[in-house]
Protein backbone atom coordinates (compact mmCIF):
# COMPACT_ATOMS: atom_id res chain seq x y z
CA UNK A 1 0.00 0.00 0.00
CA UNK A 2 2.60 2.47 1.14
CA UNK A 3 4.52 2.19 -2.12
CA UNK A 4 1.58 3.69 -4.01
CA UNK A 5 1.32 6.71 -1.74
CA UNK A 6 2.25 9.80 -3.70
CA UNK A 7 5.29 11.72 -2.48
CA UNK A 8 4.49 15.19 -1.16
CA UNK A 9 5.11 17.81 -3.83
CA UNK A 10 8.46 19.54 -3.53
CA UNK A 11 8.20 23.11 -2.27
CA UNK A 12 10.38 25.14 -4.56
CA UNK A 13 9.10 28.49 -3.28
CA UNK A 14 11.43 31.18 -2.02
CA UNK A 15 12.72 30.76 1.49
CA UNK A 16 11.52 27.19 1.79
CA UNK A 17 12.94 25.44 4.85
CA UNK A 18 12.15 22.22 6.62
CA UNK A 19 9.89 24.21 9.00
CA UNK A 20 7.53 25.02 6.17
CA UNK A 21 7.01 21.34 5.39
CA UNK A 22 3.62 20.43 6.87
CA UNK A 23 3.43 18.12 9.86
CA UNK A 24 2.80 14.49 9.07
CA UNK A 25 -0.82 13.67 8.30
CA UNK A 26 -3.26 13.18 11.15
CA UNK A 27 -4.51 9.69 11.91
CA UNK A 28 -7.91 10.02 10.28
CA UNK A 29 -6.43 11.54 7.15
CA UNK A 30 -4.04 8.63 6.96
CA UNK A 31 -6.90 6.15 7.44
CA UNK A 32 -8.87 7.74 4.59
CA UNK A 33 -5.80 7.61 2.37
CA UNK A 34 -5.33 3.94 3.26
CA UNK A 35 -8.91 3.22 2.13
CA UNK A 36 -7.88 4.38 -1.33
CA UNK A 37 -11.28 5.83 -2.28
CA UNK A 38 -10.98 5.45 -6.09
CA UNK A 39 -10.47 1.71 -5.66
CA UNK A 40 -13.49 1.44 -3.35
CA UNK A 41 -15.66 3.48 -5.73
CA UNK A 42 -14.77 1.35 -8.75
CA UNK A 43 -15.45 -1.79 -6.72
CA UNK A 44 -18.89 -0.44 -5.76
CA UNK A 45 -19.59 0.43 -9.40
CA UNK A 46 -18.67 -3.10 -10.48
CA UNK A 47 -21.06 -4.58 -7.90
CA UNK A 48 -23.92 -2.30 -8.97
CA UNK A 49 -23.24 -2.97 -12.65
CA UNK A 50 -23.23 -6.75 -12.19
CA UNK A 51 -26.44 -6.49 -10.18
CA UNK A 52 -28.28 -4.72 -12.98
CA UNK A 53 -26.83 -6.97 -15.65
CA UNK A 54 -28.04 -9.98 -13.68
CA UNK A 55 -31.48 -8.43 -12.96
CA UNK A 56 -32.00 -7.55 -16.62
CA UNK A 57 -31.74 -11.25 -17.55
CA UNK A 58 -29.59 -10.14 -20.51
CA UNK A 59 -26.92 -12.64 -19.50
CA UNK A 60 -29.28 -15.55 -19.96
CA UNK A 61 -30.75 -14.61 -23.35
CA UNK A 62 -27.82 -16.23 -25.05
CA UNK A 63 -25.39 -14.96 -27.68
CA UNK A 64 -25.49 -16.75 -31.05
CA UNK A 65 -21.83 -17.63 -31.38
CA UNK A 66 -20.60 -21.12 -32.22
CA UNK A 67 -17.07 -22.26 -31.52
CA UNK A 68 -16.40 -25.61 -33.25
CA UNK A 69 -20.07 -26.47 -32.93
CA UNK A 70 -20.14 -25.51 -29.27
CA UNK A 71 -22.20 -22.62 -27.97
CA UNK A 72 -20.30 -20.93 -25.15
CA UNK A 73 -23.15 -18.57 -24.27
CA UNK A 74 -26.37 -20.51 -24.81
CA UNK A 75 -29.84 -19.30 -24.05
CA UNK A 76 -30.90 -20.50 -20.60
CA UNK A 77 -34.51 -21.37 -19.91
CA UNK A 78 -36.26 -19.16 -17.40
CA UNK A 79 -36.75 -22.01 -14.94
CA UNK A 80 -33.00 -22.79 -14.90
CA UNK A 81 -31.84 -19.54 -13.33
CA UNK A 82 -32.93 -16.97 -10.80
CA UNK A 83 -32.75 -13.20 -10.67
CA UNK A 84 -31.53 -11.27 -7.59
CA UNK A 85 -35.02 -10.56 -6.23
CA UNK A 86 -35.81 -14.28 -6.11
CA UNK A 87 -32.47 -15.06 -4.51
CA UNK A 88 -33.10 -12.39 -1.93
CA UNK A 89 -36.51 -13.89 -1.10
CA UNK A 90 -34.78 -17.14 -0.24
CA UNK A 91 -32.22 -15.35 1.91
CA UNK A 92 -34.99 -13.87 4.03
CA UNK A 93 -36.91 -17.14 4.09
CA UNK A 94 -33.83 -19.09 5.18
CA UNK A 95 -33.01 -16.54 7.83
CA UNK A 96 -36.16 -17.64 9.69
CA UNK A 97 -35.76 -21.32 8.85
CA UNK A 98 -34.29 -23.37 11.68
CA UNK A 99 -33.56 -26.34 9.41
CA UNK A 100 -31.46 -24.12 7.15
CA UNK A 101 -29.32 -23.13 10.13
CA UNK A 102 -28.98 -26.81 11.08
CA UNK A 103 -27.76 -27.60 7.55
CA UNK A 104 -25.33 -24.70 7.69
CA UNK A 105 -23.97 -25.86 11.01
CA UNK A 106 -23.41 -29.39 9.67
CA UNK A 107 -21.50 -28.10 6.63
CA UNK A 108 -19.43 -25.68 8.70
CA UNK A 109 -18.48 -28.44 11.14
CA UNK A 110 -17.54 -30.83 8.35
CA UNK A 111 -15.42 -28.23 6.59
CA UNK A 112 -13.77 -27.12 9.82
CA UNK A 113 -12.86 -30.61 11.01
CA UNK A 114 -11.68 -31.66 7.57
CA UNK A 115 -9.49 -28.58 7.46
CA UNK A 116 -8.21 -28.97 11.03
CA UNK A 117 -7.37 -32.67 10.81
CA UNK A 118 -5.97 -32.50 7.30
CA UNK A 119 -3.76 -29.49 7.90
CA UNK A 120 -2.47 -30.76 11.24
CA UNK A 121 -1.51 -34.09 9.73
CA UNK A 122 -0.13 -32.35 6.63
CA UNK A 123 2.02 -30.03 8.74
CA UNK A 124 3.39 -32.82 10.94
CA UNK A 125 4.19 -35.16 8.07
CA UNK A 126 5.45 -32.29 5.91
CA UNK A 127 7.83 -31.08 8.61
CA UNK A 128 9.09 -34.58 9.42
CA UNK A 129 9.79 -35.43 5.80
CA UNK A 130 11.35 -32.04 5.12
CA UNK A 131 13.63 -32.29 8.12
CA UNK A 132 14.68 -35.93 7.86
CA UNK A 133 15.87 -36.20 4.27
CA UNK A 134 16.27 -39.94 4.57
CA UNK A 135 12.58 -40.40 5.38
CA UNK A 136 11.69 -38.19 2.45
CA UNK A 137 13.80 -40.34 0.17
CA UNK A 138 12.01 -43.48 1.38
CA UNK A 139 8.43 -42.22 1.54
CA UNK A 140 8.46 -39.44 -1.07
CA UNK A 141 7.56 -41.65 -4.05
CA UNK A 142 4.63 -43.21 -2.17
CA UNK A 143 3.25 -39.79 -1.34
CA UNK A 144 3.63 -38.63 -4.92
CA UNK A 145 1.66 -41.69 -6.03
CA UNK A 146 -1.08 -41.19 -3.42
CA UNK A 147 -1.32 -37.56 -4.39
CA UNK A 148 -1.76 -38.54 -8.02
CA UNK A 149 -4.97 -40.41 -7.19
CA UNK A 150 -7.85 -38.03 -8.02
CA UNK A 151 -9.08 -37.66 -4.45
CA UNK A 152 -12.66 -37.01 -5.48
CA UNK A 153 -12.67 -40.62 -6.71
CA UNK A 154 -12.33 -41.68 -3.10
CA UNK A 155 -15.67 -40.12 -2.15
CA UNK A 156 -17.97 -43.09 -2.91
CA UNK A 157 -15.58 -45.45 -1.10
CA UNK A 158 -15.32 -43.16 1.91
CA UNK A 159 -19.11 -43.03 2.11
CA UNK A 160 -19.15 -46.83 2.27
CA UNK A 161 -16.54 -46.78 5.02
CA UNK A 162 -17.73 -43.88 7.13
CA UNK A 163 -21.47 -43.85 6.41
CA UNK A 164 -23.59 -41.05 5.06
CA UNK A 165 -23.27 -38.81 8.11
CA UNK A 166 -20.60 -36.17 8.71
CA UNK A 167 -17.78 -38.72 9.01
CA UNK A 168 -17.41 -39.42 5.31
CA UNK A 169 -17.31 -35.73 4.38
CA UNK A 170 -14.74 -34.98 7.05
CA UNK A 171 -12.64 -37.89 5.79
CA UNK A 172 -12.73 -36.67 2.19
CA UNK A 173 -11.85 -33.11 3.16
CA UNK A 174 -9.05 -34.39 5.41
CA UNK A 175 -7.43 -36.35 2.59
CA UNK A 176 -7.61 -33.43 0.17
CA UNK A 177 -6.33 -30.88 2.70
CA UNK A 178 -3.54 -33.20 3.86
CA UNK A 179 -1.79 -33.23 0.49
CA UNK A 180 -2.37 -29.54 -0.11
CA UNK A 181 -0.51 -28.75 3.12
CA UNK A 182 2.04 -31.56 3.25
CA UNK A 183 3.66 -30.99 -0.15
CA UNK A 184 4.42 -27.25 0.23
CA UNK A 185 5.51 -27.74 3.85
CA UNK A 186 8.07 -30.38 2.91
CA UNK A 187 9.34 -28.19 0.09
CA UNK A 188 9.52 -25.11 2.34
CA UNK A 189 11.73 -26.84 4.90
CA UNK A 190 14.30 -27.43 2.18
CA UNK A 191 14.11 -23.80 1.11
CA UNK A 192 14.84 -22.20 4.48
CA UNK A 193 17.90 -19.94 4.09
CA UNK A 194 20.87 -22.30 4.61
CA UNK A 195 22.87 -19.44 6.15
CA UNK A 196 20.42 -19.29 9.05
CA UNK A 197 20.94 -22.99 9.68
CA UNK A 198 24.72 -22.68 9.54
CA UNK A 199 24.61 -19.69 11.83
CA UNK A 200 22.47 -21.46 14.42
CA UNK A 201 24.81 -24.45 14.23
CA UNK A 202 27.91 -22.33 14.85
CA UNK A 203 26.13 -20.83 17.84
CA UNK A 204 25.86 -24.35 19.24
CA UNK A 205 22.10 -24.71 18.74
CA UNK A 206 20.65 -28.15 19.44
CA UNK A 207 18.42 -29.85 16.87
CA UNK A 208 15.33 -28.79 18.81
CA UNK A 209 16.52 -25.17 19.00
CA UNK A 210 17.28 -25.10 15.30
CA UNK A 211 13.83 -26.49 14.62
CA UNK A 212 12.10 -23.91 16.78
CA UNK A 213 14.15 -20.84 15.91
CA UNK A 214 14.98 -21.39 12.23
CA UNK A 215 12.84 -24.02 10.52
CA UNK A 216 9.39 -23.31 11.99
CA UNK A 217 9.44 -19.54 11.50
CA UNK A 218 11.16 -19.97 8.13
CA UNK A 219 8.38 -22.05 6.60
CA UNK A 220 5.48 -19.96 7.90
CA UNK A 221 4.91 -17.87 4.74
CA UNK A 222 4.61 -21.02 2.62
CA UNK A 223 2.45 -22.77 5.22
CA UNK A 224 -0.06 -19.93 5.39
CA UNK A 225 -0.32 -19.82 1.62
CA UNK A 226 -1.13 -23.53 1.68
CA UNK A 227 -3.64 -23.17 4.53
CA UNK A 228 -5.62 -20.52 2.68
CA UNK A 229 -5.92 -22.78 -0.33
CA UNK A 230 -6.75 -25.75 1.92
CA UNK A 231 -9.66 -23.90 3.55
CA UNK A 232 -11.34 -23.37 0.18
CA UNK A 233 -10.70 -26.94 -0.90
CA UNK A 234 -12.09 -28.26 2.36
CA UNK A 235 -15.43 -26.61 1.51
CA UNK A 236 -15.25 -28.06 -1.99
CA UNK A 237 -14.70 -31.58 -0.67
CA UNK A 238 -17.52 -31.30 1.85
CA UNK A 239 -20.06 -30.01 -0.66
CA UNK A 240 -19.14 -32.73 -3.11
CA UNK A 241 -19.46 -35.38 -0.41
CA UNK A 242 -22.91 -34.06 0.46
CA UNK A 243 -23.93 -34.19 -3.19
CA UNK A 244 -23.15 -37.90 -3.30
CA UNK A 245 -24.98 -39.04 -0.21
CA UNK A 246 -25.96 -37.23 2.96
CA UNK A 247 -28.76 -36.56 5.41
CA UNK A 248 -28.08 -32.92 6.13
CA UNK A 249 -25.87 -30.09 4.92
CA UNK A 250 -25.94 -27.14 2.55
CA UNK A 251 -24.56 -29.19 -0.34
CA UNK A 252 -27.38 -31.65 0.03
CA UNK A 253 -29.89 -28.80 0.20
CA UNK A 254 -28.34 -27.21 -2.91
CA UNK A 255 -28.62 -30.42 -4.94
CA UNK A 256 -32.20 -30.86 -3.79
CA UNK A 257 -33.04 -27.28 -4.81
CA UNK A 258 -31.60 -27.78 -8.28
CA UNK A 259 -33.46 -31.03 -8.73
CA UNK A 260 -36.67 -29.15 -7.90
CA UNK A 261 -35.72 -26.35 -10.37
CA UNK A 262 -35.78 -24.10 -7.34
CA UNK A 263 -33.07 -21.82 -8.68
CA UNK A 264 -33.58 -18.95 -6.25
CA UNK A 265 -32.75 -21.31 -3.42
CA UNK A 266 -29.77 -22.82 -5.28
CA UNK A 267 -28.22 -19.43 -6.02
CA UNK A 268 -28.77 -18.28 -2.45
CA UNK A 269 -27.08 -21.42 -1.13
CA UNK A 270 -24.09 -20.96 -3.43
CA UNK A 271 -23.60 -17.48 -2.08
CA UNK A 272 -23.86 -18.80 1.49
CA UNK A 273 -21.23 -21.45 0.71
CA UNK A 274 -18.89 -18.81 -0.69
CA UNK A 275 -19.42 -16.69 2.42
CA UNK A 276 -18.48 -19.63 4.67
CA UNK A 277 -15.30 -20.23 2.66
CA UNK A 278 -14.42 -16.54 2.89
CA UNK A 279 -15.04 -16.58 6.64
CA UNK A 280 -12.66 -19.53 7.05
CA UNK A 281 -10.14 -17.70 4.91
CA UNK A 282 -10.57 -14.56 7.00
CA UNK A 283 -9.93 -16.49 10.21
CA UNK A 284 -6.69 -17.82 8.78
CA UNK A 285 -5.85 -14.27 7.69
CA UNK A 286 -6.22 -13.04 11.27
CA UNK A 287 -3.74 -15.62 12.54
CA UNK A 288 -1.44 -14.98 9.59
CA UNK A 289 -1.31 -11.28 10.31
CA UNK A 290 -0.06 -12.02 13.82
CA UNK A 291 2.42 -14.73 12.86
CA UNK A 292 3.77 -12.95 9.78
CA UNK A 293 3.83 -9.50 11.33
CA UNK A 294 7.33 -9.07 9.92
CA UNK A 295 5.95 -9.27 6.39
CA UNK A 296 3.30 -6.62 6.91
CA UNK A 297 5.44 -3.87 5.44
CA UNK A 298 5.61 -5.73 2.14
CA UNK A 299 2.78 -6.38 -0.27
CA UNK A 300 0.98 -9.29 1.35
CA UNK A 301 -0.75 -11.84 -0.82
CA UNK A 302 -3.95 -11.56 1.14
CA UNK A 303 -7.11 -12.91 -0.41
CA UNK A 304 -9.41 -11.00 1.90
CA UNK A 305 -8.41 -7.38 2.43
CA UNK A 306 -11.49 -5.21 2.49
Amino acid sequence: MSSSDPAPPADTGQGATLDTVPESATLWRWRIRQLDLPVQLIRAAVVVGLYFLWSSRALFKGVPITVFGFEPLPEVKDIFYAVPSEVWDYFTAYYHDLLFWKDLWVTVQEAFWGFALGSTAGLLVGLTLGYFRRLQKIFGPFLVFSNAVPKIALAPILILWYGIDMGSKIALATVIVFFLVQMPTTAAVGLVDPDLNILATTMGATQVQRFRKVIIPGIMPAVFGALRLAAIYSMLAVVFGEFLASKRGLGQRLLYSVNQFNMGSAFALMIVLALIALALNGLIGLVERRVLKWQSNREGGQVVSL
Binding site: D193, I198, T202, G204, Q209, K213, W294, N297
Partner: protein, 260 residues
Amino acid sequence: MSDSAVALENVSLVFGGDDPRTERVVALDNVSLRVPAGQFVAVVGPSGCGKTTILNMLAGLIRPTLGSVSRNGSEIQGPSRDVGYMLARSALSPWRTARQNVELGLEIRGERKADRRLRATELLAQLRLEGFADAYPSMLSQGMQQRVAIARTLAIDPDLWLLDEPFGALDAQTRLTVQSEFISLWETNPGRTVIFVTHDLEEAVLLADRVVVLTARPGKIKLDAPVPLPRPRVLDELKFDPVFTEIEHRIWKELRDELI
Protein backbone atom coordinates in the same frame (compact mmCIF):
# COMPACT_ATOMS: atom_id res chain seq x y z
CA MET B 1 52.09 -24.34 21.55
CA SER B 2 49.38 -24.57 24.17
CA ASP B 3 49.50 -20.82 24.78
CA SER B 4 48.06 -20.22 21.31
CA ALA B 5 44.41 -19.22 21.30
CA VAL B 6 44.15 -20.82 17.89
CA ALA B 7 46.55 -23.19 16.17
CA LEU B 8 46.52 -24.86 12.78
CA GLU B 9 49.24 -27.52 12.52
CA ASN B 10 50.09 -28.83 9.04
CA VAL B 11 46.47 -28.60 8.00
CA SER B 12 45.42 -29.90 4.60
CA LEU B 13 41.86 -30.09 3.39
CA VAL B 14 40.54 -31.95 0.37
CA PHE B 15 36.99 -31.53 -0.92
CA GLY B 16 35.24 -34.17 -2.97
CA GLY B 17 36.43 -37.72 -3.52
CA ASP B 18 33.13 -39.32 -2.49
CA ASP B 19 31.90 -38.99 -6.03
CA PRO B 20 34.38 -40.58 -8.47
CA ARG B 21 33.00 -38.52 -11.34
CA THR B 22 34.13 -35.19 -9.87
CA GLU B 23 37.65 -34.00 -9.36
CA ARG B 24 39.04 -33.71 -5.91
CA VAL B 25 39.84 -30.18 -4.88
CA VAL B 26 42.73 -29.45 -2.57
CA ALA B 27 41.51 -26.38 -0.70
CA LEU B 28 44.36 -26.08 1.79
CA ASP B 29 47.84 -27.52 1.51
CA ASN B 30 49.91 -27.91 4.66
CA VAL B 31 48.95 -24.69 6.40
CA SER B 32 50.34 -23.93 9.85
CA LEU B 33 49.27 -20.85 11.78
CA ARG B 34 49.48 -20.04 15.46
CA VAL B 35 47.63 -17.08 16.87
CA PRO B 36 48.27 -15.94 20.43
CA ALA B 37 45.31 -14.82 22.52
CA GLY B 38 44.24 -11.23 21.92
CA GLN B 39 45.74 -10.94 18.45
CA PHE B 40 43.88 -9.57 15.43
CA VAL B 41 44.85 -11.58 12.37
CA ALA B 42 43.66 -10.72 8.89
CA VAL B 43 43.72 -13.52 6.31
CA VAL B 44 43.98 -12.17 2.77
CA GLY B 45 43.95 -14.01 -0.52
CA PRO B 46 42.27 -14.40 -3.88
CA SER B 47 38.78 -15.86 -3.95
CA GLY B 48 38.64 -19.60 -3.68
CA CYS B 49 41.92 -19.85 -1.77
CA GLY B 50 40.39 -21.51 1.26
CA LYS B 51 40.02 -18.49 3.54
CA THR B 52 36.46 -19.34 4.48
CA THR B 53 37.47 -22.97 4.88
CA ILE B 54 39.86 -21.96 7.66
CA LEU B 55 37.02 -20.17 9.45
CA ASN B 56 34.69 -23.13 8.99
CA MET B 57 37.29 -25.39 10.59
CA LEU B 58 37.77 -23.02 13.50
CA ALA B 59 34.00 -22.81 13.95
CA GLY B 60 33.87 -26.60 14.11
CA LEU B 61 31.75 -27.00 10.98
CA ILE B 62 34.30 -29.11 9.10
CA ARG B 63 37.39 -31.07 10.10
CA PRO B 64 40.72 -31.09 8.31
CA THR B 65 41.70 -34.00 6.09
CA LEU B 66 45.21 -33.96 7.56
CA GLY B 67 46.75 -32.11 10.48
CA SER B 68 45.11 -30.64 13.53
CA VAL B 69 43.08 -27.55 14.35
CA SER B 70 43.02 -26.61 18.02
CA ARG B 71 41.75 -23.90 20.28
CA ASN B 72 43.36 -23.15 23.65
CA GLY B 73 45.45 -26.30 23.26
CA SER B 74 42.66 -28.78 22.57
CA GLU B 75 41.48 -30.18 19.27
CA ILE B 76 38.28 -28.60 17.94
CA GLN B 77 35.56 -31.29 17.89
CA GLY B 78 32.50 -29.29 16.85
CA PRO B 79 30.74 -25.95 17.19
CA SER B 80 31.30 -24.13 20.46
CA ARG B 81 29.04 -21.65 22.20
CA ASP B 82 31.87 -19.22 22.87
CA VAL B 83 33.03 -18.73 19.33
CA GLY B 84 31.39 -15.89 17.42
CA TYR B 85 31.15 -16.50 13.68
CA MET B 86 29.98 -13.77 11.35
CA LEU B 87 29.14 -14.98 7.86
CA ALA B 88 29.78 -12.98 4.71
CA ARG B 89 26.07 -12.38 4.26
CA SER B 90 24.40 -10.80 7.24
CA ALA B 91 22.10 -13.87 7.61
CA LEU B 92 19.59 -12.04 9.79
CA SER B 93 16.33 -13.82 10.48
CA PRO B 94 13.72 -11.73 8.63
CA TRP B 95 11.07 -12.58 11.24
CA ARG B 96 13.12 -11.24 14.14
CA THR B 97 13.52 -7.58 14.98
CA ALA B 98 17.04 -6.18 15.21
CA ARG B 99 17.03 -6.75 18.95
CA GLN B 100 15.68 -10.28 18.66
CA ASN B 101 18.35 -11.07 16.08
CA VAL B 102 21.04 -9.87 18.46
CA GLU B 103 19.53 -12.04 21.19
CA LEU B 104 19.66 -15.24 19.11
CA GLY B 105 22.94 -16.58 20.49
CA LEU B 106 21.92 -15.74 24.06
CA GLU B 107 18.61 -17.54 23.56
CA ILE B 108 20.44 -20.62 22.34
CA ARG B 109 22.58 -20.46 25.48
CA GLY B 110 19.40 -20.27 27.53
CA GLU B 111 20.00 -16.89 29.18
CA ARG B 112 17.21 -15.08 30.98
CA LYS B 113 15.02 -12.74 28.99
CA ALA B 114 15.87 -9.64 31.00
CA ASP B 115 19.62 -10.28 30.67
CA ARG B 116 19.32 -10.85 26.94
CA ARG B 117 17.40 -7.67 26.47
CA LEU B 118 19.88 -5.64 28.45
CA ARG B 119 22.87 -7.01 26.55
CA ALA B 120 21.21 -6.52 23.14
CA THR B 121 20.14 -2.97 23.95
CA GLU B 122 23.66 -2.11 25.10
CA LEU B 123 25.29 -3.50 21.95
CA LEU B 124 22.80 -1.86 19.61
CA ALA B 125 23.52 1.45 21.32
CA GLN B 126 27.26 0.97 20.85
CA LEU B 127 26.65 0.43 17.14
CA ARG B 128 24.37 3.51 16.97
CA LEU B 129 21.23 1.50 16.31
CA GLU B 130 19.28 2.32 19.47
CA GLY B 131 16.36 3.77 17.49
CA PHE B 132 16.06 0.64 15.37
CA ALA B 133 15.87 -2.10 17.99
CA ASP B 134 12.30 -3.00 17.03
CA ALA B 135 12.75 -2.72 13.27
CA TYR B 136 12.71 -5.81 11.09
CA PRO B 137 15.76 -6.41 8.85
CA SER B 138 13.79 -5.61 5.69
CA MET B 139 13.37 -2.05 7.01
CA LEU B 140 17.11 -1.55 7.61
CA SER B 141 19.82 -0.43 5.19
CA GLN B 142 22.69 -2.76 4.28
CA GLY B 143 25.04 -1.01 6.65
CA MET B 144 22.54 -1.26 9.49
CA GLN B 145 21.93 -4.94 8.78
CA GLN B 146 25.65 -5.57 8.90
CA ARG B 147 25.91 -3.73 12.22
CA VAL B 148 23.09 -5.85 13.63
CA ALA B 149 25.02 -8.92 12.48
CA ILE B 150 28.13 -7.63 14.30
CA ALA B 151 26.08 -7.07 17.44
CA ARG B 152 24.66 -10.57 17.18
CA THR B 153 28.14 -12.08 16.80
CA LEU B 154 29.45 -10.21 19.83
CA ALA B 155 26.35 -10.60 22.02
CA ILE B 156 27.55 -13.93 23.39
CA ASP B 157 30.86 -12.23 24.30
CA PRO B 158 32.96 -14.83 22.46
CA ASP B 159 36.71 -15.02 23.11
CA LEU B 160 37.29 -15.97 19.47
CA TRP B 161 35.78 -13.77 16.76
CA LEU B 162 35.62 -15.28 13.29
CA LEU B 163 34.65 -12.83 10.56
CA ASP B 164 34.20 -13.71 6.91
CA GLU B 165 34.40 -10.58 4.73
CA PRO B 166 31.94 -8.84 7.03
CA PHE B 167 32.10 -5.50 5.26
CA GLY B 168 32.42 -6.73 1.68
CA ALA B 169 28.89 -5.76 0.65
CA LEU B 170 29.07 -2.18 1.92
CA ASP B 171 29.80 0.97 -0.05
CA ALA B 172 33.07 2.77 0.69
CA GLN B 173 31.62 5.40 3.05
CA THR B 174 29.47 3.03 5.09
CA ARG B 175 32.30 0.55 5.17
CA LEU B 176 34.67 2.99 6.85
CA THR B 177 32.06 3.90 9.46
CA VAL B 178 31.24 0.31 10.29
CA GLN B 179 34.94 -0.64 10.32
CA SER B 180 35.62 2.17 12.81
CA GLU B 181 32.79 1.07 15.08
CA PHE B 182 33.95 -2.50 14.87
CA ILE B 183 37.61 -1.77 15.64
CA SER B 184 36.74 0.36 18.66
CA LEU B 185 34.51 -2.46 19.96
CA TRP B 186 37.47 -4.80 19.69
CA GLU B 187 39.94 -2.35 21.20
CA THR B 188 37.68 -1.91 24.26
CA ASN B 189 37.43 -5.69 24.73
CA PRO B 190 41.03 -6.77 25.35
CA GLY B 191 42.02 -10.41 25.08
CA ARG B 192 39.64 -11.30 22.25
CA THR B 193 41.28 -13.14 19.37
CA VAL B 194 40.11 -12.21 15.88
CA ILE B 195 40.49 -14.10 12.62
CA PHE B 196 39.30 -11.71 9.93
CA VAL B 197 38.99 -12.96 6.37
CA THR B 198 38.99 -10.37 3.60
CA HIS B 199 40.12 -9.92 0.02
CA ASP B 200 40.82 -6.26 0.63
CA LEU B 201 44.43 -5.59 1.59
CA GLU B 202 43.80 -2.04 2.72
CA GLU B 203 41.13 -3.23 5.13
CA ALA B 204 43.44 -5.95 6.42
CA VAL B 205 46.28 -3.54 7.18
CA LEU B 206 43.94 -0.91 8.67
CA LEU B 207 42.41 -3.29 11.18
CA ALA B 208 44.83 -6.11 11.93
CA ASP B 209 47.96 -6.71 14.03
CA ARG B 210 49.14 -9.27 11.53
CA VAL B 211 48.35 -10.03 7.92
CA VAL B 212 48.53 -13.58 6.56
CA VAL B 213 48.46 -13.93 2.79
CA LEU B 214 47.27 -17.17 1.18
CA THR B 215 48.10 -18.30 -2.33
CA ALA B 216 45.51 -19.23 -4.93
CA ARG B 217 44.25 -22.80 -4.73
CA PRO B 218 45.61 -24.87 -3.20
CA GLY B 219 45.85 -22.43 -0.33
CA LYS B 220 49.28 -22.12 1.23
CA ILE B 221 50.68 -19.38 3.40
CA LYS B 222 52.63 -17.05 1.14
CA LEU B 223 53.38 -14.29 3.61
CA ASP B 224 52.91 -13.66 7.32
CA ALA B 225 53.62 -10.02 8.14
CA PRO B 226 53.12 -7.98 11.33
CA VAL B 227 51.42 -4.58 11.15
CA PRO B 228 53.29 -2.42 13.67
CA LEU B 229 50.76 0.40 13.88
CA PRO B 230 49.79 1.80 17.28
CA ARG B 231 46.36 1.41 18.88
CA PRO B 232 43.76 2.71 19.33
CA ARG B 233 43.57 3.34 15.61
CA VAL B 234 41.61 6.18 14.07
CA LEU B 235 40.83 4.64 10.72
CA ASP B 236 39.88 7.70 8.68
CA GLU B 237 43.17 9.38 9.67
CA LEU B 238 45.26 6.24 9.46
CA LYS B 239 44.30 5.73 5.83
CA PHE B 240 46.42 8.75 4.90
CA ASP B 241 49.29 8.01 7.29
CA PRO B 242 52.55 7.43 5.34
CA VAL B 243 53.56 4.60 7.69
CA PHE B 244 50.32 2.82 6.90
CA THR B 245 50.74 3.35 3.18
CA GLU B 246 54.28 2.06 3.32
CA ILE B 247 53.26 -1.15 5.11
CA GLU B 248 50.40 -1.71 2.71
CA HIS B 249 52.70 -1.12 -0.25
CA ARG B 250 55.32 -3.54 1.06
CA ILE B 251 52.78 -6.34 1.49
CA TRP B 252 51.20 -5.49 -1.85
CA LYS B 253 54.50 -6.00 -3.67
CA GLU B 254 54.76 -9.43 -2.07
CA LEU B 255 51.35 -10.68 -3.08
CA ARG B 256 50.75 -8.89 -6.34
CA ASP B 257 51.30 -12.13 -8.28
CA GLU B 258 48.65 -13.95 -6.21
CA LEU B 259 45.92 -11.35 -6.39
CA ILE B 260 46.22 -10.56 -10.07
